[in-house]
């Protein structure tokens, strides 16, 4: 096993991405599932174009939160206990493992956000405004969700309920990200400053990242 922190992060992230390339869980299951959800909403609430344009951005972010978490958790809880023991015996720093898993989940979440975003723009006729800020928001939300999903995935890993508990844990915790993302888009639409909302999301990301890194070792011991 490579000894440095960042080489270990790269190795773990590379392993997860390689697994995704072989299995295609995100590409062939989660992304189509998210797109179907966007397609179902108008069938339930009506096909009024003005209404859909109004609620479209909010629906998009809700879909990203609910389905995106599946991406992060799937990667975090895919290791069996013997695999974890083997990684530990090879000298993998638990914090590097956490950061590596979160990094690969971030990349996959970005792909998920972009593809589902294109579908949402097409279906709901959403205006794409303030592209640099929008891209920054997408990136921050992807990092935040990846960190939250990886952390909760580590918490529930090898428990009796498995990942069934994850949605209950992640959904309420991701509320600051959902608020920040939706309000940032609304601010862009109305021409207001969105710095405070971006700072809120960055603060959440930093807090979860610090907690994840500091608690990686105790969680590995379970």
């Amino acid at each position: 096993m490579t000894t440095g922190f960042w080489p270990q992060v790269t190795a773990v992230a590379g392993r997860d991405l390689l697994r995704e390339r072989r299995q295609g869980d995100v590409l062939w299951i989660t992304i189509p599932f998210g797109a179907i959800a966007l397609l179902l909403v108008p069938l339930a609430i009506g096909t009024d174009a003005v209404l859909l344009r109004e609620i479209g951005p909010g629906m998009y972010w809700v879909i990203v939160m609910l389905f995106g978490v599946l991406v992060a958790v799937g990667k975090a809880s895919s290791e069996t206990v013997p695999q974890q023991d083997a990684s530990s015996l090879l000298g993998l720093d638990p914090a590097a493992g956490f950061v590596g898993r979160a990094a690969s989940a971030t990349l996959l979440l970005l792909v998920f956000e972009v593809v589902v975003g294109i579908v949402a723009v097409g279906l709901y006729d959403i205006s794409v405004i303030g592209v640099p800020w929008l891209l920054a928001t997408l990136l921050i939300v992807a990092i935040g969700l990846a960190l939250l999903g990886t952390l909760t995935g580590s918490i529930v890993n090898s428990t009796s309920t498995g990942t069934a508990l994850v949605p209950l844990l992640v959904a309420p915790l991701s509320v600051p990200l959902l608020l920040g993302a939706t309000q940032a888009y609304e601010g862009l639409r109305l021409g207001h400053s969105i710095v405070s909302w971006v700072l809120l999301m960055v603060a959440v990301v930093l807090v979860v990242a610090i907690i994840g890194v500091l608690t990686a070792r105790p969680l590995q011991e379970t």
């Binding site: 428990t159 508990l165 209950l168 509320v175 959440v204």
Partner: protein, 244 residues
């Protein structure tokens, strides 16, 4: 064998006395000029909400202390506090809804304080659900301590939501830089007595619940030992033959 425990009476006496005192003050305080007797809900709603904050903050402290010291005592404190916090958050939400209907005209409104309080309730409901996924006290303590720390991020969000966002819910009533919002001294005293009484209830319930969790852990440990073979699977009871 789990140790025998004696029944303590003082927590229940303290709970009864403090609640009786709080009830007396709530009933003798004057009605509000605009809300009338409806304002009396405040003497339970505000202390219940205060207790929820206190309980979840103690859960956070217990979680941090457990990860630093690895003493299960801290985990028991965090767990007991979360249970009481969930109960009183539920009570605060329910009472808030009952109060909202006649004053705001609706049971629920999409106000930042209300919504974030409901979300905080679900965060700690998840915390309690997580604790039920394993009987191993160390694994349970490690997992729930992390969630106890992450969940605490919600507490300042809920508290300051009425300051940061323009909301229907009124801003803090007692602790304000420019003095309490409640002008009538008797109403203020009744509210403070209510908060103190609920704090006594919290401490009393904590003492009882921590003891109960300790006994549950001892019982679980005893049952695990009882289920194990004395000398492992390699040694079995002698087969003495005869009909079964």
């Amino acid at each position: 064998m789990p140790q025998q425990t004696r029944v303590r009476r003082w927590p229940w006496v303290a709970i009864a006395l403090s609640l009786a005192t709080a009830l007396t003050f709530a009933l003798v305080s004057p009605p509000d000029d605009t809300q009338g007797d409806l304002v009396r809900i405040m003497y339970v709603h505000v202390p219940a909400a205060w207790l929820a904050y206190l309980a979840f903050f103690v859960t956070f402290i217990g979680s941090v202390a457990y990860l630093l010291t690895r003493h299960l005592r801290w985990d028991r404190i965090a767990a007991a506090s979360a249970e009481i916090g969930v109960y009183f958050t539920g009570l605060a939400i329910a009472l808030g809804m009952i109060w909202a209907k006649p004053t705001w005209g609706v049971w629920w409104t999409w106000d930042a304080r209300l919504t974030l309080t409901a979300i905080m309730f679900f965060v700690y409901l998840g915390y309690l659900a997580l604790r039920r996924t394993t009987d191993d006290p160390v694994a349970r303590a490690n997992r729930s301590a992390v969630l106890g720390i992450v969940g605490a991020v919600q507490i300042p969000l809920v508290h300051f939501s009425v300051v940061w966002w323009r909301t229907l819910h009124q801003p803090p009533s007692i602790i304000k830089p420019d003095g309490p919002a409640i002008q009538d001294p008797m109403m203020l005293v009744a509210l403070i007595v209510g908060v103190l009484a609920f704090t006594v209830v919290y401490v009393s319930l904590m003492v009882e619940r921590i003891e109960l969790i300790h006994l549950e852990d001892q019982r679980n440990a005893f049952e695990r030992i009882a289920d194990q073979s004395v000398a492992g699977d390699s040694v079995t009871a002698p087969d003495l033959g005869g009909s079964s």
